[in-house]
Symmetry: C2
Subunit: 190 residues, 2 copies
C-alpha cells in the first residue's frame, strides 16, 4: 500500500474512534508509519484530508453498487439489489459507514462540491425517478420517498450492528424489511 493510502486508512481509523477534533495530524502520520511532513505533502490541510477521505469512501460505495446492479432487471429487482448490497457493504465497511454519517453532521460537509454530490446520488435519483414516472410508486413526492428509503436503510443497519446476528438471520432481516418498505412505497396490494 502506498503512503497516501496508508495515511487515509490511518485517518479513517482514528477519526472514527476519536473524532475529527480528537485526532491530531501527528497521530495520523504516526499510525500510518510516515513522517508528519509527508502527510502535508499529500494533503495540503487537515480539512483536505477529511474531505478527500469522504469522497473516496463514497466513490468506493457507489462503484460497488454499480457493479452489483443489472440494468436489464426489473425496477423492483434493481431496488432490492441496491437495498441489500448497501447494507452488505455497510456491514463489511463499518468504519467507512460510520465515517459517512459522522461527516454528514460536521461543518466539513459544506466543502463538498455540487458536482461530487451529483455523482454520488445519480444512481439513486435515477431509480426513484423511474419508479415515480412508471406509477409503480404511490403518488408521493419523490424526495419524500428518497428520504424514507434512505432513513429506513440506515435504521435497519443500526439494528443489524447492535444485534449480533448470524449471516442467515441478517439476510432474513434484510429481506423482510425490504418487503415492508416495498409495500409501503408502491401501489401493489397484498
Amino acid at each position: 500500500m502506498d503512503k497516501e493510502k496508508e495515511i487515509l486508512a490511518a485517518a479513517l481509523k482514528l477519526f472514527v474512534e476519536f473524532g475529527f477534533h480528537g485526532t491530531p495530524t501527528s497521530k495520523i502520520a504516526k499510525e500510518a508509519g510516515v513522517a508528519n511532513g509527508t502527510l502535508f505533502h499529500y494533503f495540503k490541510t487537515k480539512e483536505d484530508l477529511i474531505v478527500g477521505l469522504y469522497i473516496r469512501i463514497k466513490e468506493n460505495l457507489n462503484g460497488y453498487l454499480l457493479s452489483k446492479v443489472d440494468d436489464q432487471s426489473t425496477l423492483e429487482t434493481r431496488m432490492k439489489t441496491i437495498y441489500e448490497e448497501s447494507l452488505q457493504w455497510a456491514l463489511i465497511h463499518r468504519d467507512e459507514f460510520y465515517f459517512i454519517q459522522q461527516f454528514h453532521f460536521s461543518p466539513h460537509l459544506a466543502k463538498v462540491s455540487a458536482e461530487d454530490i451529483e455523482k454520488q446520488t445519480r444512481l439513486h435519483v435515477g431509480l426513484l425517478g423511474e419508479g415515480v414516472k412508471s406509477k409503480i410508486f404511490k403518488s408521493l413526492p419523490v424526495g419524500l420517498i428518497g428520504t424514507i428509503l434512505g432513513s429506513q436503510l440506515y435504521g435497519v443497519y443500526q439494528y443489524l450492528v447492535s444485534n449480533d446476528l448470524s449471516a442467515s438471520k441478517q439476510k432474513q432481516v434484510i429481506d423482510e424489511t425490504f418487503v415492508l418498505l416495498w409495500e409501503m412505497i408502491t401501489n401493489i396490494k397484498q
Copy 2:
C-alpha cells in the same frame, strides 16, 4: 436569562454552525456575554459543557412529549402523538435537533451515563413493548420496530426542512407518513 443559560444557548448556536472543534470556549464566552473564566465556573471542562447541553436538550424534548401524551388514549393515538409532536418539536427547535444528531456521531456520546440513556428512552420503549405484547404490531423484533420508527421520523424531518412547505402541507405529510408507518408495523390490513 442567567449566565449558565446564556452559555448553553451560545454553545448550541456555535456548535451547530462550526462544530465542536471549530468552536473555542473563548468564542462561546464572548457570544454569551460572559468572561472566559465564568464559563469554567459553570462547566469544569469543555466536554462537560457539550454533554450537559445534550442532556438538557433531551430532557426538554422528553418533557414536551410527556406533556402532550394522554395516558388514557389508545396505543395508536399515543404513538401518533409522539410521532407528530416529535416532528413539530424538531421543526421549532432545529438547532437542538441537529445538535442531537451531531452529538450522536461524536465520541462524546460515550460519556452519557446508562441512567441518562434509560431516562431518555423510557417513554418510547414502553409504548413499543405495549404494541408487541398486545399483538397490535407485526411479530417483528421490538428493537427493529424501534429503529425503523426512529429512522423514518428522522427521514421525514429531513424532507420537511429541505422543502419549505406551508404549515398545512407539513401537517399533511406528517399525517400521511404516519399512516404509511402504522400500516407497515401493524397487522391491520386495509
